[in-house]
Symmetry: C2
Subunit: 333 residues, 2 copies
């Protein structure tokens, strides 16, 4: 189906209010979900709405709780998300990191006891739009084997880097697994192969066949041992600084999809000199865009560029949402 941004936002807001969300929480959450859909990232927008509703009903997301400061010194603060809604908490904490950056130069908030932030890019974009470099990451439930293991014993711990660019921004947002379970599931049900190896089959061989990877649950870290190593360090830093749960402890909460909660996140903002930042980014973009493409006549994209294009189109033409996702939301009482 196709729906206008404002209409989508109003529907989601109303559903959240019916579930007990106050006006402000419902507004922020509905805005973030609708913006993710507008950018074409329904997997991290409406695609997770039913699960969010479920978690609110089960009391696993305490919908009207928001992050509060626990302690802090200068440019570094620790906040507690009080198991409130992930997008609201993340927005509060990136905002606070920006305030700290405004006062000190670089600012950092370590957040514990929060929930899934949906799309990490949201908070990188939030920082970049205000002229800050943004760096943030989250841990997750154990969902990726560390290098040398068969079991999901680390998280895919998505990380985000963003910079302001002229009247816009450039953002890179990626989990440290080559593909999400969502992407594997979608390909499997469409009978498609992954474009590159995404994990291991039951014989321990690399494969592009999503159904095999879904069987073994052995998804591939980006760069094999490299992505695995980064993921382990990100978890140590985020849990060690926030005092929140680390990946193994999140795993102890349970293994159902509604059990991924009480996550730990880091938000870093750095005040940038806009002129220097723009001029360097421009040189980098122009150099890359003018390089020989891997496939003839195939455009070369800068991180986030395709989402920005989609945003522009869907702002006018409306947002395309899979019927299966939309029916789930409509049937959700």
């Amino acid at each position: 189906m196709i729906i206008k941004y404002e209409e989508l936002k109003a529907i989601l807001r109303e559903k959240l209010i019916k579930l007990g969300a106050d006006e402000n929480t419902a507004e922020i959450t509905a805005t973030i979900i609708s913006e993710n859909d507008l950018d074409g990232i329904t997997s991290h927008g409406t695609g997770r709405f039913v699960r969010i509703c479920e978690m609110i009903k089960l009391g696993k997301i305490k919908i009207n709780n928001t992050a509060v400061k626990v302690s802090g010194k200068g440019s570094l603060e620790i906040w507690d998300g009080q198991t409130g809604p992930g997008p609201v908490n993340a927005q509060i904490c990136m905002n606070r990191a920006m305030e700290l950056s405004e006062s000190y130069g670089i600012g950092c908030v370590a957040l514990r006891n929060t929930n899934h932030w949906l799309r990490g890019a949201t908070y990188g974009i939030q920082a970049a739009k205000k002229g800050f470099v943004g760096i943030c990451w989250t841990n997750t439930t154990p969902n990726m084997p560390a290098w040398g293991t068969k079991e999901a014993c680390t998280g895919n711990n998505p990380i985000v880097f963003s910079v302001p660019y002229k009247d816009s921004y450039i953002v890179m947002d990626g989990a440290l697994a080559q593909f999400s379970y969502g992407a594997l599931g979608k390909a499997a049900s469409n009978g498609k192969q992954m474009p590159v190896d995404g994990g291991y089959d039951s014989e321990g061989k690399l494969t592009t066949e999503p159904s095999e990877i879904l069987k073994t649950r052995r998804v591939l870290p980006i760069g094999f041992w490299k992505g695995s190593g980064i993921s382990i360090l990100l978890d140590m830093i985020v849990s060690g600084l926030s005092g929140g749960l680390c990946v193994p402890e999140i795993g102890e909460l349970g293994s159902s999809t509604t059990d991924e909660r009480n996550l730990s996140q880091i938000f870093i903002a750095i005040k940038a000199d806009r002129k220097t930042m723009d001029s360097k980014a421009e040189s980098i973009i122009s150099f890359i865009k003018n390089s020989e493409p891997a496939e003839e006549n195939s455009p070369v994209y800068i991180p986030g560029e395709q989402s920005l294009k989609r945003q522009k189109i869907q702002s006018v033409e409306g947002i395309i949402i899979d019927d299966s996702i939309w029916n789930g939301i409509e049937n959700r009482k």
Copy 2:
């Protein structure tokens, strides 16, 4: 050949002094190179010594220049490396980031006009040994095709994450290409295949054959589009914050191996609560170590663990250095 740490350091120090280095610069540079070798990372230790000497002689490394503060506000400072020796500049700037972190909580130094830092882990370890979380990265000459291109139009921009751990540390240090040119060259001359796909052959197919990748120069970013995207953002941030050269501008200096200079680097230090950090890292390590190994009876390693083991062994038994590397150093006047 096998050489004791102290002897290696003395030889390197003397050679640097003969090239005009003052006592302090020679001591720091020789120490860092020898420690990298001690950890088994000769590729980023003695393996680069001849090139360093060359660059000093050509005036491309100004051996007795060191980084000076350009500007700063609170927890964020910009420094200029004055094209001095990379390891000395990097050590100064991570040290300054730690001082800023001590005062403010999180501290950041953006460094421009510096040279190759050898092994990034050195500066992560420096921070972790003093009880700080360390995050640092560098840009490089264009040496990796951005996703969608055939030409080396971005850098492999190595990034480092480190945490203190009990009386030691855990460190992840990785370039964003799957393999370095050094590793490809070594495998090619030994007639070996890479353990996983490392780049593209001349038909545009992924390959483990190092000689093919060396021909096309199409090395693979970790996680394909993901590593490419991270690399582009790291370059934008490091050059945008420091005001130093970005990857395309470093490329303009020339394409010989002694032309990779005037790099830009970021050093971030975050004061950690040691007790929390240790307890979280311990949970993470124990969870991973107790997971089912991918290969039966194959040990599972934590990032940096193998280097620490090598360090212990080589501290007692001496450092193994390839004869080809050693002969190069000995013949270097």
